[in-house]
């Protein structure tokens, strides 16, 4: 219980530290991007405007949370060592495992809050735009048949809010949590923060090709042994990040089946647990 309290305290402290680093300034860029973007696409039809808004906002959410997860996590261990705060913490009866878990909890809190704020901002802009288009439609069809008006309003509503946006956003959060755990694992043996960042970014790109490598490997066929070995290595060592890329199709109106959504979340949780366990194992043997 005491250990849990200590872990939570480290988590909250990490979160506070990150907030003080003014990481939320990126939200300003996000706001500028979606509000500015909305103004830029104002000349398009309302369906196009909503589509652009969703494309840009959800894409930006995915980029920002991935970057935040990698950049914020990669610097923890090197920075704590440089500041010597790690020695102060570990000199107390705090297991290394708890220290790492606390750091990860702090990052998760930051990621969750960031995505909540971005989603809130995005939904607010979408809602304001929807109100505008609905009012415009009502004014245009005033005096016409009530059925036509109802149909037009239904079409506007169908182009804006879609319940599938929420699982799409939740999967972005799961993916960023996975990236944070992965970067934490990398930083336990990385010689510097920069090295961990570069490694994590490289894995990010390779991870998106993992599914292709896996298919290539499992399909067999007429391929050389070394190409097969390489594909197998990619499939076994790297995470399948394509599995978390749902948002592109969600924007296009594809519904996420509940079973599939739960499996994705479970896969993300599994990756987080494994990367964290490996990070704890390597960190336990690290000379400080």
């Amino acid at each position: 219980m005491k250990s849990l309290r200590g872990t939570w305290a480290i988590g909250v402290n990490t979160f506070t530290e990150l907030v003080r680093m003014k990481v939320f300034y990126f939200l300003l860029i996000f706001a500028l991007l979606i509000i500015g973007g909305s103004a830029f696409v104002a000349k398009l039809s309302f369906q196009e405007q909503f589509q652009m808004l969703k494309d840009i906002s959800l894409g930006a959410m995915s980029v920002f949370t991935s970057l935040l997860a990698i950049l914020a996590t990669a610097n923890f261990l090197p920075k704590d060592m440089e500041d010597r705060t790690i020695y102060t913490i570990l000199a107390k009866p705090v297991p290394r495992f708890s220290y790492l878990l606390g750091k990860l909890i702090g990052i998760f809190l930051l990621l969750a809050l960031s995505i909540l704020l971005m989603a809130g901002l995005f939904l607010a802009v979408l809602w304001i735009q929807e109100r505008g288009v609905l009012a415009e439609t009502r004014a245009q069809l005033q005096g016409g048949p009530a059925e036509d008006l109802a149909l037009a309003l239904k079409e506007v509503a169908a182009s804006t809010f879609n319940a599938n946006l929420f699982p799409g956003i939740a999967i972005i959060l799961v993916k960023s949590a996975l990236l944070a755990a992965l970067t934490l694992f990398l930083s336990t043996f990385a010689s510097s923060g920069l090295f961990a960042i570069l490694m994590a970014v490289a894995i990010y790109f390779i991870g998106h090709l993992q599914a292709t490598a896996r298919e290539y490997w499992l399909a067999g066929g007429d391929i050389s042994w070394w190409a097969r070995g390489l594909a197998a290595a990619v499939a076994l060592v790297f995470p399948d990040l394509q599995a978390f890329n749902f948002v592109d199709d969600v924007i296009a109106g594809v519904a996420v089946p509940a079973g599939l959504f739960l499996q994705i979340v479970a896969l993300g949780g599994l990756y987080v647990a494994v990367y964290f366990s490996l990070a704890a194992m390597v960190f336990a043997g690290r000379e400080l």
Binding site: V41, I56, L209, G253, V254, A255, L260
Partner: protein, 251 residues
Amino acid sequence: MIWRRIVAAALLAAFGAAVLPFQERISAEAKAAHFRSTALDLDLREQIGQMGFLAALSGFRSPLAAFLWIEAHTAWENTEWGRMAGLFSTVTTLQPRSLLYWDMAAWHMAWNASVAAMQDPKQPSEALRIRAQRQYFNLGKDFLERGIRNNPDRYQLYLQLGVLLRDKLEDHSGAAAAFLRPSELPDAPAYCRRFAGYEMANCPGREREAYDFLKALYLQGEKQRLPTLINLLHEMEKKLDLPASERLALP
């Protein structure tokens, strides 16, 4: 320290092997639910360049598609029809499940570009202008057909194809088939079947089939008994010269 890293790498590979069936299952279920239907191949690589392809591979297909769509809109303002067609092709490849992109691409080609081609002041030959117009109609049709192949479970593009075949290519038989195909799909509006019947009535030699089809719709109840349907039934009864016993008691 070093042995811990070796053990960690071995454990990572072991985990990768253990999770493989789970990943495969998710991948299969995602494909069955129409996710990840984008073909990220060399054709797309050529269309969007190296950086664009990297972005598409990294999960940024939708922002990239949005960016290219805005570029296509600018091309429209400059009436660069050829460039627009190329950009639309890329956008629809990036987001094949987005109905809006297929629909708008087809509309721009079959309605806007075709009219511009017909009114092209630089082309004095009417025959060549008509040829160019037909080419844009067919380009619009091609967008819709490809869109349908990527979204066979949604009714909207079938309807648009029916409209294009009816209004632009005057292929009433094709239009009837296009309107009829989505009628079994979920959420398809009731007018799909009516439109199919109206088009059937325009096909020489299919008048009796069209009459029976429209009559069956009429007998479904008040919801289908719209003035156009009733007028068409009146006309067809006259055209087919049906005996009074076979005629409907139309208002």
